[in-house]
């Protein structure tokens, strides 16, 4: 009896500890894990798109907050969207981002990734994990992850490539789409883009 109680208490602590894992530690372990697979998996190296997308879905997606990302990309129109629209938008945007991200990952061959020391206070709930991709013969490219603390651990809500926010880079296109066809118009455009990419894959 006492033993099982202890077990429960311990596992609760373990879960909490995992959720509270420092953002840079988390980012490093996920990235190292994924890149190791990308480098060694023959199908991925041979250009198997489905396989790398599956990998990203399985290992990376749960550490991203796509609702927050979509809200950032949509900007102030986000508030006027209904709950269903928000869900649909976030889902389509997620599909698009996962695909782009997977394809960028698939290019990973000779690069090495450097994690910069994290500057963070214990009470911080919003941090930037800075990394640098080094490749022979080219200037290193900075890739920074904006992460925030949620109940179930740290989540990425923006990725900065070479100082450019991937998310706000969409804002202008999104607002144009919304102006032309409302939130539903934007959902439709994203859906079509995803379908088109899906078809082109084969």
């Amino acid at each position: 009896m006492f033993k099982s109680l202890l077990c429960v208490v311990l596992s609760v602590f373990a879960v909490q500890a995992m959720a509270q894992e420092a953002p840079d530690v988390l980012a490093r372990s996920v990235m190292t894990d994924v890149l190791e697979i990308v480098k060694t998996d023959k199908a991925i190296q041979a250009g198997d798109q489905k396989r790398i997308i599956d990998l990203v879905e399985a290992k990376v997606v749960k550490h991203f907050d796509f609702q927050h990302m979509t809200a950032l990309a949509v900007g102030r129109e986000w508030r006027s969207a209904s709950a269903e629209q928000k869900t649909a938008l976030a889902a389509e945007f997620q599909t698009l981002l996962v695909r782009s991200y997977s394809n960028a990952l698939a290019q990973y061959k000779n690069q090495t990734i450097d994690f910069k020391p994290l500057r963070m206070q214990a009470a911080d709930t919003d941090v930037i994990v800075r990394t640098e991709i080094k490749q022979p013969g080219a200037k290193p490219v900075a890739i920074d992850y904006d992460m925030e603390k949620k109940a179930d651990g740290w989540k990425v809500y923006d990725v900065m490539v070479a100082g450019v926010s991937l998310v706000t880079n969409y804002r202008e296109t999104f607002s144009q789409e919304i102006k032309a066809g409302g939130i539903d118009g934007l959902i439709k455009s994203l859906r079509e883009k995803n379908k088109q990419l899906e078809a082109g894959k084969k």
Binding site: A71, L72, G75, R76, W78, R79, L96, L97, R99, S100, N103, A104, Q107, N110, P136, G137, A138, K139, A142, A162, G163, V164, S165, T168, N169, Y170, R171, E172, T173, S175, Q176, E177, K179, S189, L190, K193, L197
Partner: protein, 270 residues
């Protein structure tokens, strides 16, 4: 390029552009109509000429050789990068750039090996357009230049100054050698970007707008040396918002305002 030639080029470009009415909705891009046409032209030129050449180059040149070539061109640029760092009031960075040039030109055998990076002298990215930005000159309207691609009025001016002031190629008297060097530089640069354009194709709903935003944000980040102030979560179009010195697109090219000492600029040596 001689002064008169480039001045004429810029002037005629501006005249052509100013004749075109605004089309899109973005105030930073009043010449969108023409820009889009040049964008398509560049894209075609790339697809049918530059990209295949870069792919061929990548196929026949082993990676270490490509690295040496990139290092060589990078080394030549370090002097001008250093000058710009001095002009921007960053003597430490400037000295480091000159140190890089000294180390790499000698121990690094004419710059083919980037020894300086290995001993901790970091490579920087500066040009006169950034210096102008640092001094408070706004971007001015967005421009897509034939061959050169995305730019702004300020950066086009900056690029002309770059080329007129610092043109080590002109030291080479034999024209074929000079042209050969320029061609190698361009092809080598393009080869580094192979793969990047596929990401662009896949990610963008409208490639032109995506590219424009990427370019403008990238320049902004470079001016702040990679530490631009974060934009608001729910503000309107971020590119037209006054964010700090040098970021006001409404400001003209010649509106040379020195940066106020109290302005939030990143601290050197971070």
């Amino acid at each position: 390029m001689k002064i008169r030639e480039s001045g004429f080029l810029l002037l005629s470009l501006l005249l052509v552009l100013s004749g075109c009415a605004s089309t899109g909705g973005n105030p930073t891009d009043p010449w969108e109509g023409v820009n889009r046409k040049v964008f398509v032209f560049n894209d075609k030129l790339d697809t049918y000429a530059l990209k295949p050449v870069a792919q061929g180059y990548q196929a026949v040149t082993p990676l270490p050789a490509r690295t040496n070539i990139s290092n060589f061109f990078g080394n030549v640029e370090d002097v001008w990068i250093g000058v710009n760092n001095l002009l921007q009031g960053k003597p430490k960075d400037g000295a480091s750039d000159f140190g890089r040039f000294a180390v790499n030109s000698t121990i690094g055998i004419l710059g083919f090996f980037d020894i300086a990076s290995e001993i901790g002298l970091e490579k920087h990215d500066e040009d006169f357009g950034q210096t102008l930005g640092r001094w408070g000159v706004g971007d001015g309207p967005y421009m897509v230049l034939p061959l050169f691609g995305s730019s702004t009025v300020r950066d086009t001016g900056g690029m002309i100054v770059d080329r007129l002031t610092y043109n080590p190629n002109s030291l080479i008297k034999r024209i074929p050698v000079r042209n050969g060097l320029t061609a190698t530089k361009v092809v080598n640069l393009r080869a580094q970007l192979l793969g990047a354009e596929r990401a662009l194709d896949e990610a963008a709903l409208d490639k032109y707008v995506f590219m424009r935003n990427f370019h403008l944000q990238r320049r902004r980040s470079l001016i702040y040396d990679g530490r631009p102030p974060r934009e608001d979560d729910f503000s309107a179009a971020p590119l037209v918002e006054p964010q700090g010195p040098g970021m006001l697109s409404q400001r003209g090219l010649f509106d040379l305002v020195l940066v106020d000492a109290s302005s939030p600029m990143p601290v050197d040596g971070e």
